[in-house]
Symmetry: D2
Subunit: 258 residues, 4 copies
């Protein structure tokens, strides 16, 4: 699938502020960058580095009103979906750089969920079957509701409150996977069909020797997702991290099919 | 049922320390004090006041090694058990002094459980049926395990971790009742058949115009419970509250049938 | 001082919803109700009970759009201010119904603050001097900022974040007082000079055998405060508690000097 | 300085349990492994991988009573101490793999500490001066006390309670550094002069283009520290992570000067 992304971030900074931005589509074999432009209207310089999995990050220093524009045409090719069966690895078989996605993190306290996860999903067959059981459970028990969660909400709180947005669904999915020893991480993404359009949070699980993209909210088709960055949880994939308070003046994300 | 209670608390206080103690059996029509003795070995003076529901509290100032002894023979008569049916009151029908047992409290954040409680127990019939459904759910989903919880553990944490002790079971029971608008409170108690013997935490629910005693852990028979004090949650019913750190030297609680 | 209060609460309820409301000025010797009217526009019936300290609470069942109007003229007489000196009581001297205002509560985890409070304020002289030291510390270290706290924020979080609104200032004040064994409670109030006008949260401390009203934010003069209700913390003094979600359509609070 | 390390971990596993272990001294230019032995008494096989900074991790599957022995002689050479002055980097100057040590993590919610850190340490001069001011503040305000914290305790809780152990001191140090944009990470270590001997937690800060080791507790001399592993906080550097509960039968850590 070919997708066009158009993003505008307009923020005000009262004083010179260091920023880290994650708006570039990751560049990888299952997500080709056809064309792309990135612009900071004020002309502030930005350094862009490339991480593993093709993740790109810009760093700059902003002051006053700043407008960031990113546009790209992306070719997702024929992205493979999570297959109907797939083996979960033993810890000893996992690549070393996957291991920390087994551990609890700030918003994903998976260590506290071991009893629940084992009892509810422990008998669900192979790795894919467990992930599917977790996704089903979340969609039956958690309501998609704006305004009940904040940027501080953890998966444990969402598990209690039974409501949240994409970030909360993703954290709960990650947490339950990790509680069953399935490596899982958060992915910031652009997504087709989101209403209203916005940055999206989804997860990846590691099964059968590779990462698979999964939308825990089931709002967007997997082939309509464009990965920006991955990390342990939302703390790692914020589209804008700043060292001082900032004020949003406007923000537009648009994703359309070409 | 007639019960004999023998309690010894032996604590060390490095400096003069204010204490509030809850060790006296509450004195009420369904729990008659047949004989009773209360003694502070050091001779420190204590003031005892009587609260509603017959709750008695002592206050003193302790220093050095202090030994408190309480003994009583109690006649529980024929304590009524929660009946098989019983109506839940509208808020407008409740006595004014019952209302705050509808509110969330420190260890019982009932406001966060409304979706879960409504979905899981909302269709369970009258008030008693809902309480029974809650008790059943807790005993199927939460394991009685020492060492997984602390004095700071909330019902939300127990709901996630799915394990705890009497205090945690009670907090979860109270929380789920309040989330369904059933007034509920924590009760510190002596209990028959506890192994090892210790202070016990149970709950009371308000249905059909009165409070009913319920042991969420199902460890002790209701007629084998002797109420000490009630409150919103464990913070209110600690057997010893002090204004400085203290060190436990020894503690014995014994409850036997006469 | 004579004050005129005008309050309008306009809320929408999707289904029949039980409500507890706290909008009436408390009726007491230092706060005389000169004239007063209370009206529910839909004609829904309401039961009003009177608690201790003159606190009045209404209960009703609301559905659809509901408008509550409360108007009163209040005579605060010559309300006494916290004197320049005043003794803190021993626990053993306190009236029994004051004791639970020594205990930690949901938003005021005073037990965790004992080391800090003792080190920072322990040497500050008598009870009033300690309260004044706490108020000074808060006003030097905590910024009054909207949007950094929520209805779930505890005093421990405010202590870390160093910013909040009246509710947060009050919780921190209460917490620090209790950590020093000074009974302290939350008071919902109408307040002169608040900008924008809104319900206000202040605290009361118990010294020299009585409660004293204190505005931790220092935004309103004590003689310009009209008490509505008191409780352990904000959970107890919400102007509207409901058993189902509601939606605010409009809300006006006006306090003026007569 | 030359150091001899002897470690024995003896744990019981009720069923086959996956484990990740961090007991090997990191192998790096400022920490040479002179001799070394690693043994699992049961003969269970273990895979060892080497991460960046020379960190080594073993993975195995344990069952029944398992005894792990690690011994090593280490030459720390002349380890450089944090110099008396040193520049803090702009975000844009930092190596890409250092950036996530600026972000809040599970036990180090640095985002909530920005006001406090800026006000208390913001004026302290260059990077080293700020780190020194943080270390001084912690040693003046936090008591080293066993039993007040658990494996769930965050830096925010330690900041409130003002007491904890090495793990808590380290988390607070890391949190305050990150709140000032100084990259900081947790390091699991062996340490000379610890009493009783145990695994130790210290921190590293990134200044002047490199990481510097710092013991926030000031219990051990920096040249007497042997790094095992680093990570965002204690969740990443546990000496034993397991996918099922385990029971400690015995544990010995000994560090001596050669």
């Amino acid at each position: 699938m070919r997708l066009r992304i158009e993003t505008e971030l307009n923020y005000a900074f009262a004083e010179p502020t260091q920023v880290i931005g994650l708006v570039h589509a990751a560049s990888s074999s299952d997500q080709l960058i056809v064309t792309e432009s990135f612009e900071i209207a004020s002309g502030a310089s930005a350094a862009i580095d490339v991480g593993n999995h093709g993740q790109r990050r810009f760093r700059s220093c902003f002051c006053g009103s700043e407008l960031v524009r990113y546009q790209a045409d992306i070719d997702n090719g024929e992205r493979e979906l999570l297959p109907s069966a797939g083996r979960q690895h033993l810890w000893s078989e996992l690549p070393a750089d996957v291991l920390h996605y087994l551990l609890p993190s700030r918003f994903c306290p998976s260590d506290r969920f071991q009893r629940f996860a084992q009892r509810e999903f422990g008998g669900a067959g192979d790795g894919v079957a467990r992930v599917m059981a977790i996704l089903d459970w979340i969609s039956r028990h958690v309501d998609y509701v704006h305004g009940v969660s904040t940027a501080e909400t953890t998966a444990a709180e969402t598990f209690t409150v039974r409501a949240g947005v994409c970030r909360d669904f993703t954290h709960l999915g990650i947490t339950l996977c990790r509680a069953l020893s399935i490596p899982s991480r958060a992915v910031g993404a652009y997504a087709l069909d989101l209403n209203p359009p916005d940055f999206h949070a989804v997860m990846e699980v590691f099964l059968d020797e590779r990462w698979w993209l999964v939308d825990v909210t089931r709002l967007a088709p997997v082939e309509g997702l464009v990965r920006i960055a991955h990390g342990r949880d939302a703390a790692d994939i914020a589209f804008l991290t700043t060292d001082r308070p900032s004020e949003m003046l406007g923000q537009n994300v648009s994703v359309s099919r070409l």
